[in-house]
């Protein structure tokens, strides 16, 4: 009986023992508040590798940090020349694309992560976007997915920055992720991968909460939940501001 219990315990513990290296993570902030004067934010991500055994031989430890915003479907439209002017014609629905995606690595991504592992964990930007439902009648559906990446990269919503994670003694690592001013709200996931020779040896995931706060929160919720009152309020505020400003200006000039 006792022997069986011990065997069971050992069996239970084995998977835990298989993970030799684990991430202990710290974030400079686990929430981003979008205030009226929000001008982007920089999040410092740092941590250490916890291990019970000595540092394994072989290829060194590499670290990949991926921060992703909430995902949603995106309609991509392509312009074509019709009757001499450029108009939107074909469109493709990309099923899931994160509104923000930033990858920071400790080395060239191709060297420190194999294709198979990339496919499994969806780390690179190309893999983070899913477009299985692309209409078959449109040629080059891949071009539409590429366009999402290209446009969002130009708006600095998507970025891959290689060699920006500093790793010390294969144990301590740190990096910073810049969040642009044009953020959408939601739960952002921060994933950290430890790799050796292109294989993921450990991963860790945490959530960064991005929320509008204060006035921004109030106006946004009101416009969605009480649209009639919001509309009326907008009119009253605008009329009061316009009339007030012109009256003030007139009084100023008369005196």
């Amino acid at each position: 009986m006792l022997k069986r219990l011990i065997v069971l315990l050992v069996l239970c513990c084995t998977p835990a023992l298989a993970v030799e290296e684990q991430v202990v993570l710290g974030l400079s902030q686990d929430r981003v508040a979008i205030t009226a004067t929000f001008d982007g934010s920089e999040i410092l991500i740092f941590g250490a590798v916890k291990r019970e055994t000595p540092i394994p031989e072989g290829p060194p430890l590499e670290v990949i940090v991926a921060v992703a915003g909430p995902s949603g479907p995106v309609t991509v439209r392509r312009k074509e020349r019709k009757l001499g002017i450029w108009v939107n014609t074909d469109s493709v629905l990309v099923d899931l694309a994160p509104s923000f995606y930033a990858v920071a690595t400790s080395g060239p991504l191709d060297d420190i992560l194999t294709d198979t592992e990339d496919l499994r964990y969806r780390v690179s930007i190309e893999r983070a976007i899913r477009s299985v439902g692309a209409a078959m009648h449109i040629r080059g559906a891949q071009e539409f997915a590429d366009a999402v990446i290209r446009i969002r990269e130009s708006e600095s919503l998507y970025s891959i920055r290689e060699n920006t994670v500093a790793v010390d003694e294969q144990t301590l690592f740190r990096t910073s992720i810049a969040m642009p001013a044009d953020l959408t709200e939601g739960n952002y996931s921060a994933r950290i991968f430890l790799t050796r020779g292109g294989e993921v040896v450990s991963q860790y995931e945490t959530v960064i909460d991005v929320r509008k706060v204060g006035l921004e929160r109030l106006l946004y919720s009101m416009s969605r939940e009480q649209p009639v009152w919001y509309g009326l309020m907008s009119l009253v505020i605008a009329i009061a501001a316009g009339w007030g400003a012109s009256t003030a200006f007139r009084l100023l000039r008369e005196n």
Binding site: P73, K79, W86, M233, W243, S246
Partner: protein
């Protein structure tokens, strides 16, 4: 100073918005136009989503026209009866316009529709104004006063449902004013403009209204139609950004005061040539965007609402 707009969800420089408001305000004060036709394209250029730009501009026009209407009411230069008839058409038009706007938005063609409307209307109005004002300028140089045209009794006067408009001194059918109101309402919803630049010529040349009541009456109609448009956009598209509207407004009001002073010092004919040239420049810029191959052929839109 960057400011994050809660509805547009973009971060822009507050001074840029104040400056834009001020610049358009100066022009609108100089020429006596609303300036919506300039402001909305400018908002597109600085990266405000078109749907937000159109809806917010409607809100701003209500506010910037408000003090104007008060001034005209005090001077009794508003034909309330004609204004009400125009308004009936205008509200119907605005409703239609928002329906069309939302339908094309779902098709992904709303940008095209807005740009095309701008190109066509600015092109036509700009050219007509340019030719007309050049002719007036030449006449004033020769020193001959333009002969006052006798009011024509055209098709406008042969229609049924006649009504007496005492302030304007007219006895005409209500159908033409309702149609004018309707067109302006549709434009207001689609283009985010007050529509004064269409309505004022239509009232003078088509309806034969006396010039002194035209501006007040059109402003009267505009505040109600754009107010209605604002409400429709706020409740169906959630695209009215009050922070954006207030910033533009403050700049606009101050600019308008400066513009009025400049405008009063310039001869009327030259002012009109300048305005016509300005309208044509905006039109040309938008037309080029349609004709020249864009550097990015693809565009992104959210699928199925927010």
């Amino acid at each position: 100073m960057q400011i994050y707009l809660p509805i547009a969800e973009v971060s822009v420089n507050a001074f840029l918005l104040l400056g834009l408001g001020g610049m358009v305000g100066v022009l609108s004060g100089m020429f006596g136009v609303g300036g919506g036709f300039l402001m909305t394209p400018l908002l597109f250029f600085i990266g405000i989503p078109p749907a937000v730009a159109v809806a917010t501009e409607a809100n701003q026009i209500v506010a910037s026209s408000f003090s104007g209407v008060l001034a005209h009411l005090r001077r009794k230069t508003v034909d309330l009866r004609m204004g009400t008839v125009l308004l009936v058409g205008g509200l119907t038009g605005a409703g239609l316009g928002v329906v069309v706007f939302n339908y094309l938005k779902s098709l992904g063609q709303v940008d095209l529709l807005v740009t095309l409307c701008y190109v066509i209307f600015l092109g036509v109005v700009g050219s007509l104004m340019f030719i007309e004002s050049l002719r007036a300028l030449r006449k004033s140089r020769k020193g001959i006063a333009a002969p006052s045209k006798r009011r024509q009794r055209g098709w406008v006067h042969s229609m049924p449902f006649k009504m007496r408009f005492r302030t304007s001194g007219l006895y005409i059918s209500v159908i033409p004013p309702i149609l004018v109101g309707l067109c302006v309402g549709v434009l207001s919803a689609i283009m985010g403009v007050g529509g004064g630049f269409i309505m004022v010529p239509a009232m003078i040349y088509l309806l034969g209204m006396p010039t002194k009541v035209v501006v007040g009456t059109s402003l009267f109609q505009i505040i109600f139609v754009t107010g209605f448009t604002t409400m429709l956009h706020a409740t169906t598209n959630y695209t009215v950004d009050i922070v954006l509207a207030v910033l533009l407004l403050i700049g606009g009001v101050v600019g308008a005061q400066i513009g009025t002073v400049i405008g009063a010092r310039m001869p009327a004919e030259q002012l009109r040539v300048l305005l016509a040239a300005l309208v044509l420049v905006v039109c040309g810029k938008l037309a080029l965007d349609l004709l020249i191959e864009p550097s990015e052929l693809y565009s992104l839109g959210t699928a199925g609402g927010h």
